[in-house]
Symmetry: C2
């Protein structure tokens, strides 16, 4: 396998010579129908409103082949040490089921068997919580599950919970209330605790290392608020087998992850499994895994025209490294995906916001753009003014569904709310792409504002799983294209070191002392 | 008054010649102490970690003088037609009290008297709701207040409510539960309605025009779910006096705004006043107004070294138009400000995401950057990797407070959570600015990642009001510097027009039909 920088690839040189397609006039039915790829979970990825032609896509194919994208994916799946900086395998896809038939043995352990075993333990545990076989220390059934974690132990599981909650409510599936405490700001825990009954709450403390400052602090804060309740009936841990948390006496049970699941890729591990299985039921969580697994399998496809995540990654490279565009908006037309963009910020910006290649050498091209987003139509009444008429082009990922989650809807002015939602989404794609001429420059829309669309019938758990995996796999392929390590995060270390220095009294550091004196 | 484009200003030409200060080595106590300006509500604005020198600030002063920033602000306050495109006055500062002594008469009405009258009506009404003098149609006291609105009728009031809620809880001030429905996605209303008791809920329908698609649809959806409850006991309107909503029979009362308060500037109008006074009490809301008024008054100061909003605006121009930086991160180290960045997205990107000057002429320089953010320390475990080690520089606005809202805290490892929060904030400012050398490029931090800091003792209602006004006034000054109209939003029209076309069946539009067929 060759790991070459993007700017060493001959096909990237060729790609740079291909001019962006003017999309104001090309949106024919034929293009919209054909520039579309199944993405798993019933989703379609459409890139008709991206500035690419068949020639561009041919060049993407050459680039994908030259950078050996599927080979590298196979290598990752086979248990090669892809995370070179930390000398670790990368195994999050295996959480959803084996994509290849290879056994992956690490540290003397069959990893597929290990993940299956943890999942089975979580199934059994979650059913005991939901049935009332396991109860709080005063004998009451649990009706609330509160995750204590930060970063990947918070953002992914929270985004999934918000989406699955409304799915379950719409389907009449029994739901325990899910709550999340993440921030070291004590107001975060205080606000959540003011809303819940601790007697009927199960707390899940999630930290792979078992040493995360925010999470241990919040655990202690929660336990100190428990009064006469016994923590060992109310607290479970999700951590690595060797962590101090795993062997703490004050926990009801512990479920395990390992070093081969990065935090931002951990939503389908025990990190997401415990809270989602307890709140929404194991069956629902299993469907998330199935959707993700389907998307993972589709990524083996070497033809970029049939591999949605790979196409999405190649388009991002074109937008970022050929066109020089620094941002990406992710705009789900689904209130259920309220916090999905926040998860994607971590997934993409922590994975690929790097200035060195996978060998630790400085690189000379741009990597991950800024990712942001809010649900539509809310965003239309907020920052879309800039997207339509600002001075920079911001490419967009739209996400949308034919049906709502609850199905509680009403006809006003001869259309349902869901129909209005979809109408707005479709209108925005075309408005951004085609623009509008007007003699008055203030009413002029330049067009050529690029977007893709992930669409499906409904945001089912399978669709949600595929959506999650689509972005994970897109991120992975981008990392391969940029030749960076998408699985470490050295950039978070310096802040941690300096925060400890501040807590030790700043050790004479003038800048730290001067800023601290403001508080 | 001269309204000149930024690139016609001689001082902008001079500013372009000033090189950014290398901030890796300049963070002395003296600089940190002196590069600091009171910003109202007990806040300090610190810009020591921005790439500016005394020379740069001298040039800012020339630019501020040349673009006549305080004169234009005075003109706005005096009731001149600043919103030229819509031929309207801009009067949101007056909502907090008169900054100048001029009377402003528009449409034959003394505007100060009008806003005072509405505020007094809201005081009386909110006290009746909170005391139980006004009750739902089954005779029960209201315990929940649900705002139905979108854009400025949602984001600002919601951000303020989240912050004030924890302040009130911490202070033991009686709180009614606040809820918000915004999205036309029917799942938004369905999810909120699944959580509340309609018998004890007051709904506030907010739409200046009385014609906002999302809001009217959600109002109808809510009313259809009321069953035997009588809407005229449960629904109030916030709208303009001439709107159809104002004269609807099915409302308990109506409170008025007018055309001189833009949606994104309306949080201190009846749009925010009714929901915040009912949930948190009028006194608390009045303190928000007082804090905002203090910040408004401070903006009259022509010396940029004494005018925090003006300094912040000038620095933004330098980052954007001299250094070419396309994004701005707003990172509050306060869980109470969870949704404040979402409000700022609308405020800044809808106001200043423009490609024409205030006369409707195309301009040749960049305007508003992309604004995004999440609370710290959460963001540290998410996208900070990119901010520290990504290939682009993203300037940062930090916000932080000495004390938490609840005051419920715990000592772990000899420091409280609040102390850890502040330590992290201070550490990040210095880490971003100074970076760290390392032989291993993967552990190398380039530094020169610029930030400012708004700090105060505690996020009181006054501080919150000043914070809100700081960003409103910064946005206004930026608009004056760019010579754009920060108070219209023509860029949202095309999408609305096309959405209606889709709802009429697409009228043969091939692109709309082809995209619609995906749903």
């Amino acid at each position: 396998m060759k790991y070459n920088n993007l700017d060493k690839a001959a096909s990237f040189e060729a790609l740079k010579k291909i001019r962006p397609v003017d999309i104001r006039t090309v949106l024919t039915k034929q293009r919209i129908d054909s520039f579309s790829i199944p993405a798993g979970g019933g989703m379609q990825y459409s890139y008709a409103a991206m500035p690419v032609s068949e020639e561009t896509v041919d060049c993407f194919q050459k680039l994908a082949d030259e950078q050996e994208l599927t080979e590298k994916y196979r290598s990752l799946l086979s248990g090669d040490v892809i995370n070179l900086g930390e000398a670790r395998q990368v195994l999050h896809q295996m959480l959803r089921g084996p994509v290849l038939q290879h056994k992956v043995i690490v540290d003397g352990q069959d990893k597929n068997a290990f993940y299956k075993e943890q999942l089975e333990r979580i199934r059994v545990f979650s059913e005991k919580i939901r049935s009332g076989e396991l109860r709080g220390s005063t004998g009451k059934k649990f009706d609330t599950v509160c995750q204590i974690g930060i970063g990947g132990s918070d953002l992914g599981p929270r985004a999934l919970y918000i989406a699955l909650k409304v799915y379950c409510e719409g389907k009449g599936i029994k739901l325990l209330d899910g709550q999340f405490i993440s921030n070291v700001d004590p107001d975060d825990a205080a606000e959540v605790l003011s809303r819940i009954n601790m007697e009927t709450t199960l707390f899940i403390v999630v930290s792979k290392s078992g040493t995360t400052l925010e999470t241990l602090t919040n655990r202690d804060l929660v336990i100190s608020a428990m009064g006469k309740l016994e923590p060992r009936h109310h607290v479970v841990a999700v951590t690595s087998e060797s962590s101090p948390l795993a062997h703490s006496e004050g926990v009801l049970d512990a479920f395990f992850i390992d070093d081969y699941i990065g935090g931002r890729y951990s939503a389908t591990s025990a990190v997401g499994a415990v809270v989602l299985s307890c709140t929404c039921g194991f069956d629902v969580f299993k469907q998330v895994l199935d959707g993700a697994h389907e998307a993972d399998e589709m990524c083996l496809e070497p033809d970029v025209r049939k591999n949605a995540a790979m196409m999405d990654a190649c388009i991002e490279i074109y937008l970022r490294n050929v066109m020089g565009l620094p941002c990406l908006a992710v705009l789900p037309y689904s209130q259920a995906l309220l916090r999905f963009p926040a998860h994607l910020q971590q997934l993409s910006m922590e994975s690929n916001g790097k200035h060195v290649n996978r060998f630790g050498e400085q690189i000379d091209y741009s990597t991950e753009p800024i990712v942001f987003g809010e649900p539509g139509t809310n965003g239309q009444h907020s920052f879309y003014q800039l997207l339509h008429q600002g001075t920079d082009i911001v490419p967009i990922n739209f996400i949308g569904f034919s049906e709502s989650q609850f199905g509680k809807d009403i006809v006003v002015d001869s259309s349902t709310s869901q129909r209005k939602l979809v109408a707005n989404l479709v209108a925005q794609i075309v408005a951004f792409a085609q623009g509008k001429d007007d003699k008055n420059p203030n009413k002029q829309f330049a067009g050529n504002r690029y977007s893709s669309l992930l669409s499906a019938k409904k945001l089912t758990p399978q669709t949600l799983g595929a959506l999650l995996a689509h972005y994970e796999n897109k991120t992975m392929f981008e990392g391969f294209l940029w030749n960076i390590n998408s699985f470490d995060q050295e950039g978070v270390q310096l802040g941690k070191v300096l925060a400890k220095k501040v807590l030790r009294g700043c050790e004479g550091d003038e800048a730290l002392l001067a800023y601290l004196s403001k508080f």
